[in-house]
Protein backbone atom coordinates (compact mmCIF):
# COMPACT_ATOMS: atom_id res chain seq x y z
CA UNK A 1 0.00 0.00 0.00
CA UNK A 2 1.13 3.49 -0.70
CA UNK A 3 1.94 5.61 2.30
CA UNK A 4 -0.62 8.31 2.92
CA UNK A 5 0.16 11.64 1.34
CA UNK A 6 2.02 13.83 3.75
CA UNK A 7 3.49 10.99 5.77
CA UNK A 8 6.66 11.04 3.72
CA UNK A 9 6.96 14.78 4.21
CA UNK A 10 6.37 14.42 7.93
CA UNK A 11 9.42 12.20 8.20
CA UNK A 12 11.56 15.10 7.06
CA UNK A 13 14.35 15.16 4.54
CA UNK A 14 16.06 12.11 5.97
CA UNK A 15 12.97 9.89 5.47
CA UNK A 16 12.92 10.53 1.74
CA UNK A 17 15.12 8.90 -0.82
CA UNK A 18 18.06 11.14 -1.51
CA UNK A 19 18.93 11.87 -5.16
CA UNK A 20 21.80 9.40 -5.26
CA UNK A 21 19.81 6.68 -3.49
CA UNK A 22 17.01 7.03 -6.00
CA UNK A 23 19.47 6.79 -8.90
CA UNK A 24 20.93 3.63 -7.38
CA UNK A 25 17.49 2.05 -6.89
CA UNK A 26 16.49 2.77 -10.49
CA UNK A 27 19.82 1.49 -11.82
CA UNK A 28 19.39 -1.60 -9.67
CA UNK A 29 15.93 -2.34 -11.06
CA UNK A 30 17.17 -2.03 -14.65
CA UNK A 31 20.23 -4.14 -13.91
CA UNK A 32 18.05 -6.88 -12.37
CA UNK A 33 15.83 -6.84 -15.45
CA UNK A 34 18.85 -7.06 -17.76
CA UNK A 35 20.41 -9.93 -15.81
CA UNK A 36 17.13 -11.86 -15.90
CA UNK A 37 16.82 -11.28 -19.66
CA UNK A 38 20.40 -12.42 -20.32
CA UNK A 39 19.93 -15.46 -18.09
CA UNK A 40 16.86 -16.47 -20.10
CA UNK A 41 18.59 -15.73 -23.39
CA UNK A 42 15.84 -13.32 -24.36
CA UNK A 43 16.36 -11.64 -27.68
CA UNK A 44 13.52 -9.53 -29.04
CA UNK A 45 14.67 -10.16 -32.60
CA UNK A 46 14.42 -13.97 -32.38
CA UNK A 47 10.77 -13.55 -31.39
CA UNK A 48 10.24 -12.78 -35.07
CA UNK A 49 13.07 -14.69 -36.77
CA UNK A 50 12.33 -18.01 -35.08
CA UNK A 51 8.62 -18.08 -35.77
CA UNK A 52 7.62 -21.59 -36.68
CA UNK A 53 4.49 -20.84 -38.59
CA UNK A 54 3.53 -17.46 -39.97
CA UNK A 55 0.36 -19.14 -41.16
CA UNK A 56 -0.92 -19.83 -37.64
CA UNK A 57 -0.32 -16.23 -36.69
CA UNK A 58 -2.00 -14.93 -39.81
CA UNK A 59 -4.96 -17.25 -39.37
CA UNK A 60 -5.40 -16.56 -35.68
CA UNK A 61 -5.19 -12.79 -35.76
CA UNK A 62 -6.97 -12.68 -39.11
CA UNK A 63 -9.92 -14.37 -37.43
CA UNK A 64 -10.10 -11.57 -34.88
CA UNK A 65 -12.27 -9.49 -37.15
CA UNK A 66 -14.60 -12.35 -38.05
CA UNK A 67 -15.93 -13.96 -34.88
CA UNK A 68 -18.71 -16.37 -35.70
CA UNK A 69 -21.88 -17.68 -34.16
CA UNK A 70 -22.02 -20.61 -36.59
CA UNK A 71 -19.69 -23.50 -35.77
CA UNK A 72 -16.69 -23.86 -38.08
CA UNK A 73 -16.99 -27.63 -37.91
CA UNK A 74 -19.25 -27.55 -40.96
CA UNK A 75 -22.16 -29.05 -39.05
CA UNK A 76 -23.94 -25.66 -39.11
CA UNK A 77 -24.12 -25.93 -35.36
CA UNK A 78 -25.37 -22.71 -33.75
CA UNK A 79 -22.78 -21.43 -31.27
CA UNK A 80 -25.01 -19.28 -29.06
CA UNK A 81 -26.05 -22.08 -26.64
CA UNK A 82 -22.37 -22.90 -26.06
CA UNK A 83 -21.57 -19.22 -25.47
CA UNK A 84 -24.42 -18.89 -23.00
CA UNK A 85 -23.45 -22.09 -21.21
CA UNK A 86 -19.88 -20.87 -20.94
CA UNK A 87 -20.96 -17.46 -19.65
CA UNK A 88 -23.34 -19.00 -17.15
CA UNK A 89 -20.77 -21.44 -15.77
CA UNK A 90 -18.08 -18.76 -15.64
CA UNK A 91 -20.39 -16.39 -13.76
CA UNK A 92 -21.70 -19.02 -11.37
CA UNK A 93 -18.24 -20.29 -10.44
CA UNK A 94 -16.91 -16.75 -10.00
CA UNK A 95 -19.89 -15.61 -7.91
CA UNK A 96 -19.82 -18.71 -5.69
CA UNK A 97 -16.07 -18.41 -5.15
CA UNK A 98 -16.18 -14.67 -4.47
CA UNK A 99 -19.06 -15.00 -1.98
CA UNK A 100 -16.96 -17.40 0.06
CA UNK A 101 -13.77 -15.42 -0.41
CA UNK A 102 -15.29 -12.08 0.66
CA UNK A 103 -16.68 -13.57 3.88
CA UNK A 104 -13.45 -15.43 4.67
CA UNK A 105 -11.40 -12.40 3.58
CA UNK A 106 -13.29 -10.08 5.91
CA UNK A 107 -12.91 -12.41 8.89
CA UNK A 108 -9.25 -13.23 8.22
CA UNK A 109 -8.48 -9.63 7.24
CA UNK A 110 -9.92 -8.33 10.47
CA UNK A 111 -7.94 -10.87 12.51
CA UNK A 112 -4.77 -10.00 10.59
CA UNK A 113 -5.22 -6.27 11.23
CA UNK A 114 -3.93 -4.64 14.39
CA UNK A 115 -6.89 -2.30 14.78
CA UNK A 116 -8.66 -4.48 17.34
CA UNK A 117 -5.81 -4.73 19.81
CA UNK A 118 -3.43 -1.78 19.49
CA UNK A 119 -5.83 0.89 20.80
CA UNK A 120 -4.16 3.78 22.58
CA UNK A 121 -6.97 5.27 24.64
CA UNK A 122 -6.29 5.30 28.36
CA UNK A 123 -8.46 3.16 30.61
CA UNK A 124 -11.81 1.55 29.87
CA UNK A 125 -10.41 -1.87 30.67
CA UNK A 126 -8.71 -3.56 33.59
CA UNK A 127 -4.96 -4.09 33.64
CA UNK A 128 -5.51 -7.80 33.07
CA UNK A 129 -7.72 -7.21 30.03
CA UNK A 130 -5.14 -4.82 28.65
CA UNK A 131 -2.27 -7.26 29.14
CA UNK A 132 -4.32 -10.03 27.57
CA UNK A 133 -5.15 -7.85 24.59
CA UNK A 134 -1.53 -6.84 24.14
CA UNK A 135 -0.23 -10.41 24.12
CA UNK A 136 -3.04 -12.45 22.60
CA UNK A 137 -3.85 -9.83 19.95
CA UNK A 138 -0.46 -9.81 18.21
CA UNK A 139 -0.26 -13.62 18.39
CA UNK A 140 -3.61 -14.08 16.68
CA UNK A 141 -2.65 -11.50 14.06
CA UNK A 142 0.63 -13.33 13.46
CA UNK A 143 -1.09 -16.68 12.99
CA UNK A 144 -3.74 -15.12 10.73
CA UNK A 145 -1.04 -13.50 8.56
CA UNK A 146 0.83 -16.80 8.25
CA UNK A 147 -2.37 -18.59 7.24
CA UNK A 148 -3.16 -15.84 4.71
CA UNK A 149 0.34 -16.22 3.30
CA UNK A 150 -0.19 -19.97 2.84
CA UNK A 151 -3.49 -19.42 1.03
CA UNK A 152 -2.20 -16.89 -1.43
CA UNK A 153 1.25 -18.34 -2.08
CA UNK A 154 -0.43 -21.04 -4.18
CA UNK A 155 -1.99 -19.97 -7.47
CA UNK A 156 -5.60 -20.93 -8.20
CA UNK A 157 -4.48 -23.28 -11.00
CA UNK A 158 -2.22 -25.13 -8.57
CA UNK A 159 -5.05 -25.27 -6.01
CA UNK A 160 -7.26 -26.68 -8.79
CA UNK A 161 -4.67 -29.34 -9.62
CA UNK A 162 -4.28 -30.38 -5.99
CA UNK A 163 -8.00 -30.36 -5.25
CA UNK A 164 -8.79 -32.21 -8.47
CA UNK A 165 -6.39 -34.99 -7.65
CA UNK A 166 -7.86 -35.22 -4.16
CA UNK A 167 -11.59 -34.76 -4.77
CA UNK A 168 -12.08 -35.16 -8.51
CA UNK A 169 -13.91 -32.97 -10.97
CA UNK A 170 -16.75 -31.58 -8.86
CA UNK A 171 -18.22 -28.11 -8.78
CA UNK A 172 -17.05 -27.66 -5.19
CA UNK A 173 -13.46 -28.31 -6.29
CA UNK A 174 -13.55 -25.48 -8.82
CA UNK A 175 -15.19 -23.07 -6.40
CA UNK A 176 -12.66 -23.89 -3.67
CA UNK A 177 -9.74 -23.64 -6.11
CA UNK A 178 -10.66 -19.98 -6.66
CA UNK A 179 -12.03 -19.22 -3.19
CA UNK A 180 -8.94 -20.38 -1.26
CA UNK A 181 -6.27 -18.15 -2.84
CA UNK A 182 -8.75 -15.29 -3.24
CA UNK A 183 -9.59 -15.44 0.48
CA UNK A 184 -5.90 -14.98 1.19
CA UNK A 185 -5.47 -12.13 -1.29
CA UNK A 186 -8.62 -10.33 -0.12
CA UNK A 187 -7.70 -10.83 3.54
CA UNK A 188 -4.23 -9.36 3.02
CA UNK A 189 -5.54 -6.24 1.26
CA UNK A 190 -8.59 -5.88 3.54
CA UNK A 191 -6.39 -6.01 6.64
CA UNK A 192 -4.22 -3.23 5.24
CA UNK A 193 -7.28 -1.16 4.35
CA UNK A 194 -8.74 -1.63 7.83
CA UNK A 195 -5.43 -0.68 9.45
CA UNK A 196 -5.04 2.39 7.26
CA UNK A 197 -8.59 3.66 7.72
CA UNK A 198 -8.63 6.98 9.60
CA UNK A 199 -9.21 6.30 13.29
CA UNK A 200 -10.42 9.74 14.41
CA UNK A 201 -14.11 8.86 14.30
CA UNK A 202 -13.48 5.62 16.22
CA UNK A 203 -11.50 7.46 18.88
CA UNK A 204 -14.27 10.06 19.14
CA UNK A 205 -16.82 7.31 19.80
CA UNK A 206 -14.44 5.74 22.32
CA UNK A 207 -14.14 9.11 24.04
CA UNK A 208 -17.95 9.22 24.25
CA UNK A 209 -17.94 5.92 26.12
CA UNK A 210 -18.48 3.48 23.25
CA UNK A 211 -17.36 -0.12 23.63
CA UNK A 212 -14.84 -1.97 21.50
CA UNK A 213 -17.41 -3.48 19.10
CA UNK A 214 -19.05 -0.12 18.40
CA UNK A 215 -15.75 1.63 17.82
CA UNK A 216 -14.75 -1.00 15.26
CA UNK A 217 -18.11 -1.53 13.56
CA UNK A 218 -19.34 2.07 13.45
CA UNK A 219 -16.24 4.21 13.84
CA UNK A 220 -13.65 2.36 11.77
CA UNK A 221 -15.18 -0.24 9.43
CA UNK A 222 -17.35 2.24 7.43
CA UNK A 223 -14.22 4.27 6.75
CA UNK A 224 -12.56 1.26 5.10
CA UNK A 225 -15.72 0.02 3.36
CA UNK A 226 -15.47 2.06 0.11
CA UNK A 227 -11.94 0.75 -0.50
CA UNK A 228 -12.97 -2.76 0.47
CA UNK A 229 -15.93 -2.70 -1.93
CA UNK A 230 -13.88 -1.33 -4.81
CA UNK A 231 -11.18 -3.93 -4.30
CA UNK A 232 -13.68 -6.81 -3.97
CA UNK A 233 -15.23 -5.75 -7.28
CA UNK A 234 -11.82 -5.73 -8.93
CA UNK A 235 -11.14 -9.20 -7.57
CA UNK A 236 -14.52 -10.32 -8.92
CA UNK A 237 -13.23 -9.37 -12.35
CA UNK A 238 -10.13 -11.48 -11.69
CA UNK A 239 -12.35 -14.34 -10.49
CA UNK A 240 -14.19 -14.27 -13.82
CA UNK A 241 -10.88 -14.74 -15.64
CA UNK A 242 -9.82 -17.49 -13.23
CA UNK A 243 -13.16 -19.27 -13.63
CA UNK A 244 -12.82 -19.03 -17.41
CA UNK A 245 -9.33 -20.55 -17.30
CA UNK A 246 -10.53 -23.41 -15.06
CA UNK A 247 -12.34 -24.58 -18.20
CA UNK A 248 -8.97 -25.98 -19.32
CA UNK A 249 -9.46 -28.63 -16.62
CA UNK A 250 -12.82 -29.62 -18.09
CA UNK A 251 -15.29 -27.36 -16.30
CA UNK A 252 -17.88 -25.96 -18.73
CA UNK A 253 -16.67 -22.37 -18.40
CA UNK A 254 -15.55 -20.21 -21.32
CA UNK A 255 -12.03 -21.66 -21.09
CA UNK A 256 -13.37 -25.11 -21.94
CA UNK A 257 -14.93 -23.89 -25.17
CA UNK A 258 -11.89 -21.79 -26.01
CA UNK A 259 -9.51 -24.73 -25.67
CA UNK A 260 -11.84 -27.05 -27.60
CA UNK A 261 -12.12 -24.61 -30.51
CA UNK A 262 -8.41 -23.88 -30.37
CA UNK A 263 -7.45 -27.53 -30.64
CA UNK A 264 -9.59 -27.80 -33.76
CA UNK A 265 -8.01 -24.61 -35.12
CA UNK A 266 -11.45 -22.97 -35.21
CA UNK A 267 -9.97 -19.53 -34.56
CA UNK A 268 -13.13 -17.60 -35.39
CA UNK A 269 -14.94 -19.52 -32.63
CA UNK A 270 -12.06 -18.79 -30.25
CA UNK A 271 -12.52 -15.09 -30.93
CA UNK A 272 -16.26 -15.34 -30.27
CA UNK A 273 -15.51 -16.69 -26.80
CA UNK A 274 -12.73 -14.17 -26.19
CA UNK A 275 -15.02 -11.26 -27.07
CA UNK A 276 -17.67 -12.72 -24.76
CA UNK A 277 -15.16 -12.76 -21.92
CA UNK A 278 -14.19 -9.19 -22.74
CA UNK A 279 -17.87 -8.22 -22.66
CA UNK A 280 -18.28 -9.81 -19.22
CA UNK A 281 -15.30 -7.92 -17.84
CA UNK A 282 -16.58 -4.63 -19.28
CA UNK A 283 -20.01 -5.20 -17.73
CA UNK A 284 -18.44 -5.79 -14.31
CA UNK A 285 -16.34 -2.65 -14.76
CA UNK A 286 -19.49 -0.65 -15.59
CA UNK A 287 -21.24 -2.05 -12.56
CA UNK A 288 -18.35 -1.10 -10.32
CA UNK A 289 -18.25 2.46 -11.69
CA UNK A 290 -22.02 2.80 -11.16
CA UNK A 291 -21.78 1.51 -7.62
CA UNK A 292 -18.93 3.83 -6.80
CA UNK A 293 -20.72 6.83 -8.22
CA UNK A 294 -23.90 6.04 -6.34
CA UNK A 295 -22.03 5.79 -3.08
CA UNK A 296 -19.70 8.68 -3.70
CA UNK A 297 -16.76 6.34 -3.37
CA UNK A 298 -14.66 8.05 -5.99
Amino acid sequence: MNPKPGSAGAKGPRGRLGGSTRARVITGIFAAGLIAAVHLGLNPITLFTEIRSWKVIRDFFGAALQPTLISESGSELFLLPAVLEGVQATLVFAIAAMSLAVIAGLILGFLASSVWWDGDLVGGETGFQRALRRTVGPSITGVARLFIGLLRSVHELLWAMMLLSAFGLSHATAVLAIALPYSGILAKIFSEMIDEAPRGAGLALRAAGAGEATVLAIGIFPRALPDITAYALYRFECALRSAAVLGFFGYPTLGYFISASFENLYYREVWTYLYTLLGLIIIVEFWSVLLRRRHDFA
Binding site: T126, G200, G211, T214, A217, G219
Partner: protein
Protein backbone atom coordinates in the same frame (compact mmCIF):
# COMPACT_ATOMS: atom_id res chain seq x y z
CA UNK B 1 -28.80 16.85 32.69
CA UNK B 2 -27.12 19.91 34.20
CA UNK B 3 -23.45 20.78 34.14
CA UNK B 4 -20.67 19.23 36.17
CA UNK B 5 -17.81 20.96 37.96
CA UNK B 6 -14.22 20.41 36.85
CA UNK B 7 -11.25 20.53 39.16
CA UNK B 8 -7.56 20.28 38.28
CA UNK B 9 -5.43 19.86 41.35
CA UNK B 10 -1.67 20.17 40.82
CA UNK B 11 -1.93 18.39 37.49
CA UNK B 12 1.19 17.59 35.47
CA UNK B 13 1.31 15.61 32.23
CA UNK B 14 4.56 14.50 30.64
CA UNK B 15 4.82 12.97 27.19
CA UNK B 16 8.21 11.37 27.54
CA UNK B 17 10.58 14.33 27.85
CA UNK B 18 8.01 16.91 26.77
CA UNK B 19 5.79 18.69 29.25
CA UNK B 20 2.09 18.75 28.34
CA UNK B 21 0.90 20.74 31.33
CA UNK B 22 2.83 21.58 34.47
CA UNK B 23 1.32 21.87 37.93
CA UNK B 24 -2.05 23.25 36.86
CA UNK B 25 -4.65 24.24 39.45
CA UNK B 26 -8.01 25.12 38.00
CA UNK B 27 -11.62 25.05 39.20
CA UNK B 28 -14.54 25.35 36.84
CA UNK B 29 -18.04 25.62 38.27
CA UNK B 30 -21.02 23.64 36.99
CA UNK B 31 -22.47 25.33 33.91
CA UNK B 32 -19.56 27.79 33.62
CA UNK B 33 -18.07 28.77 30.26
CA UNK B 34 -14.30 29.00 30.02
CA UNK B 35 -12.01 29.69 27.07
CA UNK B 36 -8.48 28.30 27.00
CA UNK B 37 -6.10 30.53 25.06
CA UNK B 38 -2.40 30.35 24.33
CA UNK B 39 0.05 29.46 21.59
CA UNK B 40 0.30 26.03 19.98
CA UNK B 41 1.77 23.47 22.33
CA UNK B 42 0.81 25.46 25.41
CA UNK B 43 -1.25 22.60 26.87
CA UNK B 44 -4.81 23.50 25.85
CA UNK B 45 -5.54 20.18 24.19
CA UNK B 46 -3.88 18.29 27.04
CA UNK B 47 -6.21 19.96 29.56
CA UNK B 48 -9.23 19.01 27.44
CA UNK B 49 -8.01 15.43 27.15
CA UNK B 50 -7.59 15.28 30.92
CA UNK B 51 -11.12 16.60 31.45
CA UNK B 52 -12.52 13.96 29.09
CA UNK B 53 -10.55 11.17 30.83
CA UNK B 54 -8.77 10.42 27.57
CA UNK B 55 -5.43 10.92 29.29
CA UNK B 56 -4.32 10.31 32.84
CA UNK B 57 -2.24 12.92 34.64
CA UNK B 58 1.36 12.00 35.38
CA UNK B 59 0.91 13.81 38.68
CA UNK B 60 -2.03 15.42 40.48
CA UNK B 61 -5.78 14.86 40.41
CA UNK B 62 -8.60 15.63 38.02
CA UNK B 63 -12.04 15.68 39.66
CA UNK B 64 -15.36 15.97 37.93
CA UNK B 65 -18.27 16.73 40.24
CA UNK B 66 -15.94 15.79 43.07
CA UNK B 67 -15.11 12.33 41.67
CA UNK B 68 -11.42 11.60 41.18
CA UNK B 69 -11.19 10.25 37.64
CA UNK B 70 -8.21 8.03 38.46
CA UNK B 71 -10.40 6.10 40.95
CA UNK B 72 -12.98 5.03 38.34
CA UNK B 73 -13.24 1.39 37.35
CA UNK B 74 -13.16 0.69 33.58
CA UNK B 75 -16.93 0.41 33.56
CA UNK B 76 -17.40 3.64 35.50
CA UNK B 77 -14.89 5.32 33.23
CA UNK B 78 -16.95 4.43 30.16
CA UNK B 79 -20.08 5.69 31.87
CA UNK B 80 -18.28 8.92 32.77
CA UNK B 81 -17.06 9.40 29.21
CA UNK B 82 -20.62 9.13 27.96
CA UNK B 83 -21.39 12.31 29.94
CA UNK B 84 -18.57 14.30 28.32
CA UNK B 85 -19.02 15.49 24.74
CA UNK B 86 -16.09 16.66 22.65
CA UNK B 87 -15.99 18.72 19.48
CA UNK B 88 -12.79 18.17 17.57
CA UNK B 89 -10.90 20.45 15.26
CA UNK B 90 -10.99 17.72 12.60
CA UNK B 91 -14.65 16.85 13.44
CA UNK B 92 -14.05 13.09 13.56
CA UNK B 93 -17.33 12.16 11.92
CA UNK B 94 -17.83 9.04 9.81
CA UNK B 95 -18.27 10.66 6.37
CA UNK B 96 -19.58 7.42 4.84
CA UNK B 97 -22.56 7.31 7.21
CA UNK B 98 -25.67 9.43 7.03
CA UNK B 99 -26.10 12.53 9.15
CA UNK B 100 -28.64 11.01 11.55
CA UNK B 101 -26.40 7.94 11.94
CA UNK B 102 -23.43 10.08 12.90
CA UNK B 103 -25.55 11.87 15.47
CA UNK B 104 -27.20 8.71 16.83
CA UNK B 105 -23.88 6.85 17.20
CA UNK B 106 -22.72 9.19 19.96
CA UNK B 107 -25.07 7.53 22.44
CA UNK B 108 -23.02 4.35 22.13
CA UNK B 109 -21.90 4.74 25.73
CA UNK B 110 -25.47 4.25 26.93
CA UNK B 111 -26.62 1.61 24.43
CA UNK B 112 -25.89 -2.05 23.94
CA UNK B 113 -24.09 -2.81 20.69
CA UNK B 114 -27.22 -4.31 19.12
CA UNK B 115 -29.36 -1.48 20.44
CA UNK B 116 -27.04 1.01 18.77
CA UNK B 117 -27.11 -0.91 15.47
CA UNK B 118 -30.90 -0.70 15.61
CA UNK B 119 -30.70 3.06 16.25
CA UNK B 120 -28.46 3.44 13.22
CA UNK B 121 -30.06 1.12 10.70
CA UNK B 122 -33.67 0.65 11.89
CA UNK B 123 -34.21 3.88 13.80
CA UNK B 124 -37.41 4.42 15.75
CA UNK B 125 -39.60 7.41 14.91
CA UNK B 126 -38.95 8.88 18.34
CA UNK B 127 -35.16 8.98 18.08
CA UNK B 128 -35.32 10.34 14.51
CA UNK B 129 -37.66 13.11 15.67
CA UNK B 130 -35.26 13.97 18.47
CA UNK B 131 -32.30 14.09 16.08
CA UNK B 132 -34.34 16.17 13.64
CA UNK B 133 -35.07 18.66 16.40
CA UNK B 134 -31.40 18.98 17.33
CA UNK B 135 -30.39 19.39 13.68
CA UNK B 136 -33.05 22.10 13.44
CA UNK B 137 -31.42 23.96 16.34
CA UNK B 138 -28.15 24.07 14.38
CA UNK B 139 -29.95 24.89 11.12
CA UNK B 140 -29.36 21.77 8.99
CA UNK B 141 -32.51 19.70 9.61
CA UNK B 142 -32.97 19.14 5.85
CA UNK B 143 -29.71 17.14 5.82
CA UNK B 144 -31.04 14.47 8.20
CA UNK B 145 -30.81 11.59 5.71
CA UNK B 146 -27.92 12.91 3.62
CA UNK B 147 -24.65 11.08 3.46
CA UNK B 148 -22.31 13.13 5.62
CA UNK B 149 -19.58 13.39 2.96
CA UNK B 150 -22.04 15.21 0.69
CA UNK B 151 -22.20 18.14 3.12
CA UNK B 152 -19.97 21.20 3.00
CA UNK B 153 -17.30 21.69 5.66
CA UNK B 154 -19.45 24.19 7.53
CA UNK B 155 -22.46 21.87 7.48
CA UNK B 156 -20.34 18.97 8.69
CA UNK B 157 -19.21 21.10 11.59
CA UNK B 158 -22.85 21.63 12.50
CA UNK B 159 -23.34 17.87 12.42
CA UNK B 160 -20.47 17.58 14.91
CA UNK B 161 -22.15 20.17 17.13
CA UNK B 162 -25.53 18.42 16.86
CA UNK B 163 -23.82 15.14 17.74
CA UNK B 164 -22.31 16.61 20.89
CA UNK B 165 -25.70 18.00 21.98
CA UNK B 166 -27.51 14.72 21.28
CA UNK B 167 -25.10 13.11 23.72
CA UNK B 168 -26.82 15.21 26.44
CA UNK B 169 -23.50 15.79 28.20
CA UNK B 170 -22.75 17.42 31.53
CA UNK B 171 -19.52 18.82 30.11
CA UNK B 172 -18.87 20.03 26.57
CA UNK B 173 -15.24 20.24 25.48
CA UNK B 174 -14.40 22.01 22.23
CA UNK B 175 -10.85 21.75 20.90
CA UNK B 176 -10.18 24.60 18.47
CA UNK B 177 -13.65 24.17 16.99
CA UNK B 178 -13.32 27.06 14.53
CA UNK B 179 -9.70 26.88 13.41
CA UNK B 180 -10.72 25.54 9.99
CA UNK B 181 -13.78 27.77 9.56
CA UNK B 182 -13.77 31.14 7.83
CA UNK B 183 -13.84 34.13 10.23
CA UNK B 184 -17.48 35.13 9.63
CA UNK B 185 -18.73 31.61 10.32
CA UNK B 186 -16.34 31.18 13.25
CA UNK B 187 -18.21 33.80 15.24
CA UNK B 188 -21.56 32.09 14.50
CA UNK B 189 -20.21 28.72 15.55
CA UNK B 190 -18.77 29.99 18.84
CA UNK B 191 -22.00 31.83 19.62
CA UNK B 192 -24.04 28.74 18.74
CA UNK B 193 -21.96 26.60 21.08
CA UNK B 194 -22.09 29.12 23.94
CA UNK B 195 -25.85 29.59 23.60
CA UNK B 196 -26.55 25.87 23.34
CA UNK B 197 -24.42 25.15 26.40
CA UNK B 198 -26.02 27.97 28.41
CA UNK B 199 -29.54 26.88 27.47
CA UNK B 200 -28.82 23.32 28.61
CA UNK B 201 -26.67 24.39 31.60
CA UNK B 202 -23.74 22.38 30.24
CA UNK B 203 -20.24 23.24 31.46
CA UNK B 204 -18.33 24.48 28.42
CA UNK B 205 -14.56 24.51 28.01
CA UNK B 206 -13.31 25.69 24.64
CA UNK B 207 -9.77 26.14 23.40
CA UNK B 208 -9.43 28.99 20.95
CA UNK B 209 -6.65 30.44 18.83
CA UNK B 210 -8.63 33.56 18.09
CA UNK B 211 -8.25 35.92 21.07
CA UNK B 212 -10.91 38.31 19.83
CA UNK B 213 -13.53 35.55 19.73
CA UNK B 214 -12.49 34.40 23.18
CA UNK B 215 -12.76 37.90 24.63
CA UNK B 216 -16.13 38.58 23.00
CA UNK B 217 -17.88 35.40 24.05
CA UNK B 218 -16.34 34.32 27.33
CA UNK B 219 -16.31 35.95 30.72
CA UNK B 220 -13.40 33.80 31.83
CA UNK B 221 -10.17 33.26 29.95
CA UNK B 222 -7.42 30.90 31.02
CA UNK B 223 -4.09 31.78 29.38
CA UNK B 224 -1.66 28.89 28.98
CA UNK B 225 1.94 28.92 27.98
CA UNK B 226 4.40 26.03 28.10
CA UNK B 227 1.85 24.04 30.06
CA UNK B 228 1.48 26.64 32.80
CA UNK B 229 -1.42 28.91 33.64
CA UNK B 230 -0.30 32.50 32.94
CA UNK B 231 -3.62 34.16 33.80
CA UNK B 232 -7.15 33.16 34.72
CA UNK B 233 -9.52 36.10 34.72
CA UNK B 234 -12.34 38.07 33.17
CA UNK B 235 -11.12 39.54 29.87
CA UNK B 236 -12.03 43.06 31.03
CA UNK B 237 -9.44 42.71 33.82
CA UNK B 238 -6.72 41.63 31.44
CA UNK B 239 -4.33 44.15 29.92
CA UNK B 240 -3.21 43.85 26.33
CA UNK B 241 0.28 43.27 27.72
CA UNK B 242 -0.93 40.06 29.32
CA UNK B 243 -1.91 38.79 25.88
CA UNK B 244 1.30 40.00 24.26
CA UNK B 245 3.30 38.21 26.93
CA UNK B 246 1.27 35.07 26.38
CA UNK B 247 2.16 34.86 22.71
CA UNK B 248 5.63 36.42 22.59
CA UNK B 249 8.47 34.00 22.14
CA UNK B 250 11.57 33.96 24.24
CA UNK B 251 14.80 33.75 22.27
CA UNK B 252 15.25 30.18 23.42
CA UNK B 253 11.82 29.18 22.14
CA UNK B 254 12.46 30.81 18.78
CA UNK B 255 15.60 28.76 18.32
CA UNK B 256 13.77 25.62 19.41
CA UNK B 257 10.85 26.19 17.04
CA UNK B 258 13.26 26.92 14.21
CA UNK B 259 14.96 23.62 14.86
CA UNK B 260 11.64 21.76 14.81
CA UNK B 261 10.75 23.26 11.47
Amino acid sequence: MSGASLEFDGVTVRYGETIGVADVDLRIDPGAQVALVGPSGSGKTTLLRLAGAIREPTKGRVRVDGTDLSQLSPKELRRFRSTVATIYQDLRLVPELRVYQNVAAVRAGRRSFLGLLRDLFLPSGGSVAQIHEILESVGIEEKLYHRTNQLSGGQQQRVAIARSLYQEPAVLLADEPVSSVDPARARDVVRLLCDAAREREITLVMSLHNLELARDHFSRLVGLRNGRVMFDDDPSNLSSEAFTRLYSLTEEEMIEQGAHR
